[in-house]
């Protein structure tokens, strides 16, 4: 199938912080929209479509996203959509919308301030209200169940998780947008108290918030907006049943399927052939499960000797702003291919996978393959 060549051409992110005391979510977003457009040397009126991802529950009120229309620049009126999902899914949909025609450019925004609410309580409400939510499960306890299932199946130890977390922390120290910017050794992380066993506090991100704007453009315009666009070569996403007992928590079937489909669309044989992988792994067990799903290693070797750099940004372990974590992965993939990742630049990165997730325990997964080259002639 011959599709349109569409690229990520701009990305602006507010550094992730525990709490931006002086700004609303919309005030945090506005400078990102302006900066992303300025980097692309375009005006808001040059953008054909806008789509955002956010959560009313995180905003603490119904219709919270309506207030973002003003800062995204919806005057005069614009073509618009809002998804109640991680904003990476908004980027996926913007790409589809551009494939459908009469739309060459789009901005994709993510925002939300978790500091104004109580994330464990919110994430409890994301479980089914009849069987799972009443038990009192939250985001960390469901993740711990998944980590246990994976560790038991694959003979992974607490020390292995500490090593993965330490790798992310070392990478995060080089990323000026990360929330945790201090390298901490595995030994030290392995001494932190349990959050919920087998996950220790040192393996998990703190609460963090940000605001993100990404710019997409089709061939013909992308080249004028960015010196080194990151072309979307393939993408796919898959949902799975929520019930924790209904799926094999030790693996991510959806990520595996989405990766296979996205790579096939990109005409690439293996994820291991790419330069950078940015995954929405909010704990070390999730990273291992996602690596397995992408067939990035045969065994459980923790640091592949060769192959792609995994989460050179420090990943969600160093900063996990809900509803934006996935879009930041896509932005990081862009930064690497565009050569503007600063201190955490992977040298000569020309291809990447960005992964996003929604729901508990990697329930829904999105994979996007990007490269320095156009996919379709």
């Amino acid at each position: 199938m011959n599709l349109r060549n569409i690229a990520v051409v701009g990305f602006a992110q507010a550094p992730i912080v525990a709490c931006d005391e002086h700004r609303t979510a919309q005030e945090m977003l506005y400078p990102q929209v302006r900066r992303a457009l300025a980097d692309c040397r375009v005006e808001r009126s040059d953008i054909d479509y806008q789509v955002a991802g956010s959560s009313d529950y995180i905003d603490g009120r119904p219709f919270g996203f309506v207030a973002a229309l003003d800062v995204m620049g919806a005057w005069p009126p614009v073509q618009d959509l809002h998804l109640e999902m991680d904003a990476a899914f908004a980027a996926y949909y913007a790409w589809l919308r551009m494939q459908a025609g009469d739309c060459d450019t789009a901005i994709v925004c993510g925002y939300g301030k978790v500091s104004e609410g109580d994330p464990p309580r919110l994430l409890n409400l994301r479980l089914d209200p009849y069987y799972q939510a009443p038990i009192g499960l939250d985001g960390v306890s469901t993740a711990a169940l998944q980590a246990s299932a994976y560790m038991k199946r694959n003979a992974v130890s607490d020390g292995d998780l500490a090593t993965i977390a330490a790798n992310n922390r070392a990478a995060g120290a080089r990323n000026s947008d990360a929330q945790l910017r201090e390298a901490v050794g595995a030994d030290q992380l392995a001494k932190t108290p349990w959050a919920v066993a087998p996950l220790r506090q040192g393996y998990l991100p703190p609460r963090g918030e940000s605001a993100v704007c990404l710019v997409l453009a089709a061939e013909g315009k992308a080249e004028r907006m960015c010196a080194r666009p990151a072309w979307i070569q393939g993408t796919d996403q898959r949902a799975e049943l929520q019930s924790l007992g209904a799926r094999d928590l030790a693996r991510s079937h959806g990520t595996q399927l989405a990766t296979e489909r996205a790579l096939a669309m990109a005409g690439i044989a293996r994820a291991a052939d790419l330069d950078v992988i940015e995954v929405s792994a909010a704990n070390p067990a999730e990273e291992l499960i996602l690596r397995n799903a992408m067939d990035l290693q045969s065994g459980i070797g923790l640091e592949p000797a060769s192959g792609p750099a995994i989460n050179p940004s420090g990943g969600p372990i160093c900063g996990h702003p809900l509803m934006m974590t996935g879009l930041i992965r896509l932005g990081e993939a862009f930064r690497q291919i565009a050569g503007c990742a600063g201190e955490h630049q992977v040298s000569e990165a020309r291809s990447a996978i960005a992964h996003a997730t929604s729901g508990h325990c990697l329930q829904q997964n999105l994979v996007m393959v990007l490269g320095a080259e156009r996919r379709w002639s």
Binding site: M1, L3, T24, Q26, S55, D56, Y57, R61, P62, F63, G64, F65, V66, A67, L69, D70, G73, A74, W75, P76, P77, V78, Q79, D80, L81, H82, L83, E84, M85, F89, Y93, R97, Q99, A100, G101, D102, L122, L123, L125, R126, L127, D128, P129, Y130, Q132, A133, Q237, R238, A239, E240, L241, Q242, S243, A246, H253, L257, S358, G359, H360, Q363
Partner: protein, 383 residues
């Protein structure tokens, strides 16, 4: 659009104040099963699922699409969850349309629902807005000033809202799925109390439980189906900022821009004469007159006269909301898709007792936010 798209299946639930007989997944599944049956398809034939609903606070479940994956038949399929306030049902259907138009999906199931009896709609519809003291007066309290402004601007007489309500209820009597079907008289409406002046109790939409599902498909897939499809001629969603000095809230620019976009693409230059029926989003009776103007069916100040002359009634020149519309059934998240789905049913010739005879072109419309979000499509009976 890159390629033609059609609606090949429509399924809706019985809408009522409280569907105590079903859970949230049960309600959704009722619509999904009916849409698939209607399209002659099974879950395995569906390439992707697009679901929409209004604020999660209405039922108290965050991102409920995640626990509804089973009810939607979305396991190991692509799924998208849309939320654009009151317009969401319509923008969700348009999102599904885009999936097919992109060339990447042949058959997409799209679903919209609300089970308002699970929560407190008055509370969930009383958001705190920036720079504004909390109204705590629901959507009616928010929109009553818009209606007052319309009346003041156009000099519309006070019986126009009530006339609209009578006509909507008369239409709902012919729709077996509608929530409120009992006939009402002009006196009944005029004598019902003001909830938010000028909006009376009987000029107000109900709070409903309900769901609707559509199957949209490529031309090739549509031609294989058992039924006459509804061909989507055009579909767009537009939004506008809230805090713009001088913004016209009575006839918002985004509504006019969206209508122009769908008309231009569908080749409509004279909507009053080229469109045979329209399903438009009228949660409070006065909005019917307001939207007739905003949608370009008449000049500014003329909308109420169409209603006064009865030209929007069933069997008249331009039947508006032959299903009874939002004034008869309002599961909020589903209401927009009900408008687009009902417009499609008319084109498929299967609207039953409320079928508009000989209708070949229909408009489906929804709005949301502070009259900021608009989503519309034009459907036709011929490809």
């Amino acid at each position: 659009m890159k390629r033609p798209v059609a609606v090949v299946g429509v399924g809706q639930t019985q809408h009522s104040a409280r569907r105590a007989d079903v859970s949230i997944p049960g309600l959704v599944r009722e619509a999904v099963d009916r849409a698939l049956l209607d399209a002659g398809l099974e879950h395995k034939d569906i390439d992707a699922v697009v679901i929409g609903k209004a604020p999660d606070q209405l039922e108290g479940v965050m991102q409920p699409e995640q626990f509804l994956v089973g009810a939607l038949g979305a396991h190991l399929k692509p799924m998208i969850r849309v939320h654009t306030a009151g317009s969401v049902g319509a923008s969700t259907a348009l999102t599904a349309m885009t999936h097919v138009a992109s060339g990447l999906f042949d058959r997409v199931l799209t679903v919209a629902f609300e089970k308002q009896s699970e929560g407190n709609a008055m509370w969930a519809l009383s958001p705190t807005l920036p720079f504004t003291p909390p109204l705590v007066a629901g959507a009616g309290g928010f929109f009553a000033p818009y209606c007052r402004a319309y009346i003041k601007k156009t000099g519309a007489p006070p019986h126009i809202g009530p006339l609209t309500a009578v006509s909507a209820r008369d239409n709902a009597g012919r729709n077996e799925y509608a929530h409120l079907r009992e006939p009402i008289s002009l006196d009944d409406v005029m004598n019902s109390p003001f909830l938010w002046e000028p909006i009376r109790y009987l000029e107000t939409c109900p709070s409903s439980d309900g769901a609707i599902a559509l199957v949209v498909a490529s031309e090739e897939a549509a031609r294989k189906g058992p039924r006459q499809p509804a061909w989507i001629k055009s579909g767009y969603s537009y939004a506008e900022a809230m805090w713009v000095p001088g913004r016209d809230q009575v006839s918002p620019l985004a509504g006019r821009a969206c209508a122009k976009a769908v008309y231009d693409k569908a080749g409509i230059t004279d909507p009053w004469n080229q469109i045979d029926t329209a399903e438009i989003y009228v949660p409070f009776a006065w909005f019917e007159a307001m939207w007739l103007e905003n949608l370009g069916f008449c000049d500014v100040g003329e909308g109420w006269k169409i209603i006064d002359r009865g030209e929007q009634k069933f069997g008249a020149h331009l039947p508006i909301n032959p299903s009874g519309g939002v004034l008869a059934s309002n599961p909020i998240g589903a209401s927009g898709m009900l408008r687009l789905g009902e417009a499609a049913l008319q084109m498929m010739g299967r609207a039953g007792a409320h079928q508009v005879e000989g209708a070949k072109t229909a408009l489906g419309h929804a709005y949301g936010g502070g009259a900021q979000y608009f989503a519309m499509w034009i459907v036709g009976s011929e490809a």
